[in-house]
């Protein structure tokens, strides 16, 4: 807490200091751009009956977020971007840091909540220090933040990239206090890319990435998570031709050990890639590949894309990648009728579980969005999505069959008088979801209708900006009906010589579940944006959400149970 206060004071001092220096630095050969800011978030929740656990908090009670992201430019050749972006309270709920409250310095530095990076660049050379989110390709490494060091070199058309660091520290498992700490092994990454690239022409590169958990990094290992090791190599080829034609290709090979505590297999050279990875009994080697080919132009895009991820293909650079599927899609976009009709569409199939012929699942995907601007007053948007999922029966009498169809129609009408413009939009969506029971074979239909009417008056001579809407939603399936009606309105206006923008929104929903008594929900929010000067602004946002149940939760004391949650967010932002 003392550390947080100290950082707050430093930031506030920084604001004052930078504001004071601003006008005197004009002749200094350093140009500073970027932003810095500090934001406080508060949250409150009051549940009745107390302790009923009908609703749980969904934000931290108090949170302070700091941002310091200036870029210092020294002449034309040297730049120094800084990015210090961190928060005072750990709020991890998924991934390796889930449940962790008291962090060591190492854990705090590598916690994905926090970013600390310095990337000095001179001409074609860039040094990478601190937290980096580096994407080398779609199949090698990409969406994981790593704290470490490396470089990007791009002399002429050649490129050499390297980075090594830690994406997570060792975290001991703990069962108490609830919900406990999931725990994690310390994971170290290495990645290297070599190739050539000319923007707009081509890119050819080889990628190598490795991630390895340290088995001894914890004294209380996670219960379910095993220490892992992965090594990937991939080849990418992107080529752009004249008239918009292109081809993107990547093929990749992974060696992945699911459990580093399993014994080594001496002599299993086919599963090893020494010295980077040695085969264990839990090691698998598999392939992945993707390709897209097509043409892009102002009025027509068309492409075919295919992606195969083998059942054993895994990479520590994309820990959430789901293996064992093959996707094929055709995508298009075109404009016609003097650009008054815009259409985007795609159609394809995804085959899941391809390694198991008996349980192979096919998934059809199709969507269409058709927009037509008939004239200055009237436009119409139609969209349709179809999704079908089917598997063989396996051990059950029937296979899984889920089919989802969604149709949306949104006409919009605009008309203008001498003093104002009126905008009227109606949006209707019908969603049908059929699901087959694998034991009885009975298909149940789940139907949802949503209708939304919105009216927005735009005054020419007034600063008021109101809008009004009403929404009807109903979802039905056998023995179940859920209906809501929502009334919503918002109003915005400038005050204090337009230095402060105010906007408030009121939203009331009445809902009914089967034959239970109605539930009620009121959401009120307010935004206050104060532009203190050209560089400094103060943004505040307040919202309250009150929900009162009917008798759907059970008998007394849960009849009329309710909760009130409030949140506030206020922060100063300075633009260099």
């Amino acid at each position: 807490m003392k550390l947080t206060k100290l950082i707050c004071i430093c930031f506030l001092f920084g604001f004052v200091n930078l504001s004071a220096q601003d006008s005197t630095n004009k002749k200094f050969p350093i140009k500073v751009t970027g932003t810095m800011g500090i934001t406080y978030e508060g949250y409150g929740l009051n549940v009745k009956p107390t302790g009923s656990n009908i609703y749980t908090p969904r934000r931290p009670w108090n949170q302070v977020r700091f941002l310091f992201a200036p870029t210092l430019q020294f002449g034309n050749k040297f730049s120094l971007p800084l990015n210090f972006n961190f928060a005072s309270v750990a709020t991890n709920f998924a991934g390796p840091y889930a449940g962790l409250k008291n962090q060591s310095i190492g854990q705090w530095l590598t916690n994905p909540m926090n970013n600390f990076s310095i990337n000095p660049a001179y001409k074609w050379a860039e040094l990478l220090l601190g937290t980096q989110y580096l994407k080398y390709s779609d199949l090698s490494t990409g969406d994981i933040g790593i704290f470490g060091a490396g470089f990007n070199l791009h002399p002429g058309k050649f490129m050499f990239r390297f980075f090594t660091g830690t994406s997570q520290q060792g975290i001991n498992y703990a069962a108490a206090p609830p919900p406990g700490i999931t725990g994690a092994f310390k994971r170290t990454h290495y990645m290297f890319q070599i190739g050539t690239e000319v923007e707009g022409s081509h890119k050819v590169a080889f990628n190598f990435s490795k991630g390895k958990d340290a088995v001894t990094s914890v004294t209380a290992p996670p219960l379910a998570i095993k220490p892992q090791e992965g090594f990937n190599t991939s080849f990418i080829l992107d080529k752009y031709f004249k008239k918009g034609w292109f081809i993107n290709l990547e093929s990749a090979l992974s060696f992945f050990t699911r459990d580093l505590t399993q014994p080594l297999i001496p002599g299993a050279d086919n599963l090893s890639f020494k010295p980077f990875i040695a085969a264990r009994t839990s090691t698998a080697k598999d392939f992945a590949g993707q390709m897209s080919v097509g043409k892009k132009s102002p009025n027509l895009d068309i492409s075919y894309a295919t992606k195969y991820i083998g059942a054993g293909y895994q990479t520590t650079g994309f820990p959430f990648m789901q293996p064992d599927h093959w996707d094929n899609t055709i995508n298009t976009r075109f404009n016609t009728w003097k650009n008054k009709i815009n259409v985007t569409a795609s159609m394809g199939q995804r085959v899941n579980n391809i390694s198991n012929t008996s349980l192979r699942a096919s998934q059809f995907l199709g969507n269409l969005n058709w927009f037509t601007q008939f004239n200055d007053r009237f436009s119409l948007n139609i969209n349709y999505n179809n999704f079908g999922f089917q598997t063989a029966s396996g051990l059950n009498p029937f296979g899984i069959k889920n089919v989802s169809n969604d149709l949306g129609i949104s006409p919009m009408y605009t008309w203008t008088t001498a003093t104002m413009t009126h905008l009227l939009t109606v949006s209707y969506n019908y969603s049908k979801y059929d699901e087959r029971d694998v034991i009885t074979g009975i298909t149940t239909s789940n139907n949802t209708h949503t209708a939304l009417l919105t009216y927005v008056p735009v005054y020419f001579n007034k600063e008021l900006t109101p809008d009004f809407s009403v929404l009807y939603f109903t979802n039905t399936m056998p023995a179940f009906k859920n209906t809501f009606i929502t009334l919503s309105s918002s109003l915005g206006m400038p005050v204090a010589k337009k230095k402060i923008q105010l906007r408030g929104q009121l939203q009331y929903t009445i809902g009914k579940l089967n034959t239970f008594t109605a539930n009620n929900n009121l959401v009120v929010s307010c935004t206050i944006d104060w532009k203190i000067n050209k560089k400094l602004s103060w943004n505040s946002f307040f919202s309250t959400n009150y929900y009162r149940y009917g008798n759907e939760l059970g008998s007394i004391p849960l009849i009329g149970a309710n909760y009130l949650e409030s949140s506030v967010r206020t922060g100063l932002q300075y633009k260099f």
């Binding site: 709920f93 999931t182 949006s427 939304l452 735009v458 929900n521």
Partner: protein, 294 residues
């Protein structure tokens, strides 16, 4: 000639009769297809050995994995097996003892599939375990093999369906209700899975997966076996939020004991590949941004 045959036969009978053993094999009816996970779970395979006499005896496990028609697809390399000493009483051995993968030899396409995926294809199999000892004529069975039939389940995590990846939802509709849909865990078994649905807001200056790994979820709800959930967000958005506001959602699938159904895939938490969706004002409002409407 008769003498030559009868002498070894006599030695085998004498060697076997010398070992007074009872064995029992148990195997989970639908074990995971990831064979490397077997060694870490004692409940997966249990082989109970009761030795009646008090003479210590050296033995090794000979384990065979077979198809239902008896075709052997994997067998222990008994020359590399580590011997155990059997003493009077009952002892329980587990998968890591009776089926150490580092000395299991799989055949043909099954070896290729295991090398590539680490899993056996979903099917019915039988596991046979036998205690053998080193006799005067080499390795000899100490007791008859025990076999159990089981169904190998190659689980496939749910795939997120709706909102589709990178879908853009209307702000006013999304403030009232958002429908989430996903495919079920495959194969569907008698033990119903629990799906934990989590939705995270992607804050400014955050990468989507960073938000998933660091933020408190706005929705964190568990549902049993169903593949649809209608969320009433009760959210309000600041007028200065950089619309569209981004969200990332994922699903964690657990078994009836509350543990992730697949523990050794990439994230180790049985979390499905997350999807992004955005909430923004309608195109009409988008056009009016310039007029100061939003």
């Amino acid at each position: 000639m008769k003498k030559n045959i009868s002498l070894p036969l006599f030695l085998v009978v004498a060697f076997t009769a010398n070992a007074q053993l009872n064995t029992t094999l148990n195997i989970q009816p639908t074990p995971t297809a990831v064979l490397s996970e077997w060694s870490g779970k004692n409940a997966m395979v249990t082989f109970i050995v009761t030795k009646i006499d008090s003479i210590p005896q050296q033995a090794i496990f000979k384990t065979e994995m077979k198809l239902i028609d008896g075709t052997v697809i994997g067998v222990t390399d008994i020359t590399k097996a580590v011997p155990i000493i059997l003493t009077k009483g009952t002892r329980v051995y587990f998968s890591k003892d009776v089926m150490p993968l580092e000395i299991m030899n799989f055949t043909g396409k099954y070896k290729a599939i295991l090398d590539r995926t680490g899993k056996l294809p979903a099917d019915n199999y039988q596991l046979c375990v036998q205690l053998i000892g080193q006799g005067p004529l080499g390795f000899q069975p100490l007791v008859a093999a025990k076999c159990k039939i089981f169904n190998m389940a190659a689980l496939q995590l749910p795939i997120l369906v709706m909102p589709a990846n990178n879908a853009v939802l209307n702000k006013l509709s999304a403030q009232t209700a958002i429908t989430f849909r996903w495919t079920p865990l495959i194969p569907q078994t008698q033990n119903l899975p629990t799906y934990r649905l989590q939705v995270f807001e992607v804050l400014a200056n955050q990468q989507p997966v960073q938000a998933l790994r660091s933020n408190q979820p706005l929705l964190d709800v568990s549902v049993k076996a169903i593949t649809q959930y209608i969320w009433r967000p009760g959210l309000a958005f600041s007028a200065t939020d950089s619309l569209p506001v981004k969200f990332i959602w994922t699903l964690q699938t657990s078994d009836d004991t509350g543990l992730p159904v697949i523990q050794t895939d990439g994230n180790g938490e049985s979390r499905s590949e997350p999807f992004l969706f955005m909430i923004e004002a309608t195109k009409r409002n988008e056009k009016k941004k310039g007029a100061g409407l939003l």
